[in-house]
């Protein structure tokens, strides 16, 4: 899409009109949650948050894949980085994610670990070919957006006969987590702004239960201010009528059935499994693991890695924040013991983390 066209979705005058309409029509309070880190950042970066009518409460959900990476998963990849046989390949987001004792990949690198930031999982193929005597381990963190590309990388590796690539698979799936969230009575929500990128892969169907089972609204939404405002305005409208719907406002990218080809590749290589989410705990069926037919690529098998739940970090309110029960600045560690310079949890370090967004963008 051209940038000129995108500009139209940022039109200040149209945004103003929608904001006025929302102000007029909002009766009481609307609590909405976005479940995509890109939305978190978009809402802050555009200044939208400072312009929303007072009755609208914006909550950031478990939508940043880095933030929901469980402590034991972080410790697992940090341990593996110390292995002399291993070259860790990772997306840049994970470099500063803190594990036990606040160690991270950056510090591991300074201690001699070989860590390579890649822009695409396909870069790992070249890395593996260039280092035939070593094992290249890619840290597979991400949602349905990322998983198909990693699956495609593994397929290509098999075709090219690359035998020194492994994937440390910590992928998670979004709809299962939303189901678990909504089942939690403590969470008070009127609706979701659904993730644009994830939905481009999975489509709209997997979210239908939000209205059907829980009587809440949810709209698949793009990342420009007008996209977001339009979805919020729609949710106000439905609520005023006492209705709940799941709809797609991001039709320029997201089709009803998503990207079936990508889903097919993803499920050819991965299968659903139970997964531990940071702050949320164990959610049955919410993860992806490598199928037995592809276990030659499985770093967990290769190194005997088992992910186990442990006690949460003392004081860290990540769980309540990811569930929208608390705002980041209500965490006692926020801005004090936990800052981007010295993060306690990944929410403070990921570019798309809600704590980092609060710290970086919130004015008062």
């Amino acid at each position: 899409m051209s940038f000129e066209l995108l500009e139209k979705f940022r039109d200040p005058e149209l945004c103003r009109k929608l904001l006025d309409k929302m102000e007029r029509e909002l009766d009481g309070e609307l609590r909405f949650m976005e479940v995509c880190g890109t939305h978190t950042v978009a809402i802050f970066q555009s200044g939208l948050r400072s312009l929303l009518p007072e009755g609208i409460t914006h909550l950031s959900g478990p939508g940043c894949p880095v933030c929901v990476t469980h402590e034991s998963e972080v410790n697992a990849f940090l341990d593996l980085a110390g292995n002399e046989r291993v070259i860790m390949a990772t997306f840049g987001d994970l470099m500063r994610v803190p594990g036990e004792d606040r160690r991270n990949l950056k510090k591991a690198q300074a201690d001699g670990a070989r860590v390579k930031v890649v822009y695409s999982p396909f870069d790992t193929l070249k890395l593996a070919k260039e280092n035939p005597g070593d094992l290249v381990v890619f840290i597979g963190v991400g949602f349905e957006t990322t998983a198909p590309t990693i699956a495609a990388t593994m397929k290509m590796a098999r075709r090219q006969g690359i035998d020194n690539l492994r994937v440390l698979c910590f992928h998670k799936t979004v709809p299962t987590a939303l189901d678990a969230l909504l089942a939690d009575q403590a969470i008070k929500l009127d609706g979701f702004i659904l993730p644009g990128h994830v939905s481009a892969i999975i489509g709209v169907e997997p979210y239908r239960f939000i209205a059907g089972k829980y009587n809440k609204s949810a709209v698949v939404t793009g990342f420009e201010p007008l996209d977001i405002l339009q979805s919020l305005s729609q949710m106000i409208d439905w609520r005023n009528k006492g209705e709940a719907h799941v709809d797609n406002n991001y039709t320029r990218i997201v089709g009803e059935n998503g990207n079936p080809k990508a889903m097919e590749i993803m499920y050819e290589v991965f299968e659903p499994c139970d997964a531990l989410w940071r702050g949320l705990g164990l959610i049955p069926g919410s993860g992806l693991e490598i199928r037995p037919e592809w276990e030659q690529f499985d770093a967990k098998k290769e190194f005997g890695i088992v992910i186990k739940d442990g006690p949460a970090l003392k004081g860290c309110k990540c769980g309540d924040i990811l569930k929208g029960i608390k705002q980041p600045d209500q965490c006692p560690l926020f801005g004090k013991a936990c800052t981007p310079a010295n993060p306690v949890g990944p929410c403070m370090v990921s570019t798309e983390g809600s704590c980092a967004a609060y710290y970086k963008y919130k004015l008062d």
Partner: protein, 334 residues
């Protein structure tokens, strides 16, 4: 096989001598440097500005320049930001053995062109060659000195509420070029470094408008970081208008793809000018009359609202904090 720089060239022996006389004096030579004394003999008086910088850029060649031209521009600009006329420079090379001699020649020739254009002389130099792996290809340190021609000199702590905040042109070009070239990314459009010596434009500006409060080049950390440094030192708030920020569409596009913010990307041929409101128009006129300031524009105002902070007034009219980054920008997952 093409000629390479060997450890011998940094030994101080005949090989070094040949490199110095042929390559360095041949290109950068002047009366003072040619004397090859242990130190340069200079005549300076009054208030001088002095600055040093080490250049370790990877890749060493990039669209719009190379480490050589950058090493001259960077130091010349730093000296000029003090309201000074840059005059002399020193230059130290640390070269990894095995660097192709042809590469070194290109770098030295670029430096020669850059010093010529900036009107400065390199009066002292040093070359070390270190074993493979001890440095990455070539590192260059330059130090510059110049005569300060205004009193008081512009300073980061001199911004005052009510001052206008100007930028001399588009932002993010250099940083995106370096990141893009380093990662071998092909951008659809032509993105190149803005590396340039700004001293002639700056000298004109401070001669005509000696009341300029702050001049700064937003290099590492970009515009956002530099403005944060200024608001902290001056204890004022900078209100920045997002709609006024000059960013090339191709830079904006490249940044969106990589998940980078152009406000935090380095610039090597731009400066921030902060001065009393009444002089803003005149300053813009002077800047725009020079090709290096052709896209100059007003981007904000200093206020006393949130001392020490930079506030971005977004396109939509919302306000948000524009803070400092913790470290380098890292590309994102999705």
């Amino acid at each position: 096989m093409s000629e390479k720089v060997l450890l011998d060239y940094g030994s101080g022996g005949r090989a070094s001598q040949r490199l110095i006389s042929k390559l360095f004096l041949g290109n950068l030579g002047n009366d003072e440097l040619n004397r090859l004394n242990d130190a340069a003999e200079l005549s300076v008086s009054g208030r001088v500005a002095m600055s040093t910088d080490s250049f370790t850029v990877d890749p060493i060649f990039f669209p719009g320049g190379n480490i050589g031209s950058l090493a001259v521009h960077g130091t010349v600009n730093d000296v000029a930001m003090m309201g000074a006329v840059p005059r002399y420079m020193t230059c130290g090379y640390i070269i990894e053995e095995g660097l192709p001699m042809a590469d070194l020649e290109i770098i030295v020739k670029s430096m020669a062109e850059a010093v010529e254009h900036a009107g400065v002389q390199i009066v002292s130099g040093d070359t070390k060659v270190v074993p493979k792996g001890a440095v990455d290809k070539i590192f260059i340190n330059t130090t510059g000195i110049g005569d300060i021609i205004v009193d008081p000199a512009p300073s980061g702590d001199a911004a005052r509420p009510g001052d206008a905040v100007l930028i001399s042109g588009t932002i993010g070009d250099h940083g995106l070029t370096i990141l893009g070239t380093r990662e071998g990314l092909d951008f659809e459009a032509d993105v190149k470094s803005d590396s340039a010596a700004l001293n002639h434009l700056l000298v004109r500006l401070v001669r005509e408008l000696p009341e300029v409060h702050v001049l700064r080049d937003p290099t590492r950390g970009g515009l956002a970081t530099t403005l944060n440094e200024i608001t902290t030192s001056s204890n004022v708030c900078c209100e920045l208008n997002e709609t006024s920020l000059p960013i090339r569409p191709e830079v904006q596009g490249g940044c969106s793809i990589l998940g980078l913010d152009p406000l935090y990307l380095a610039n090597e041929g731009k400066f921030i000018c902060i001065l009393p409101e009444a002089q803003a128009e005149k300053a813009l006129e002077i800047m725009r009359s020079d090709p290096l300031g052709g896209d100059a524009c007003r981007i904000g105002t200093m206020t006393d609202a949130n001392p020490g902070k930079v506030v971005l007034v977004t396109q939509l009219g919302g306000k948000r904090l524009l803070g400092m980054l913790e470290g380098e920008q890292l590309p994102r997952i999705c």
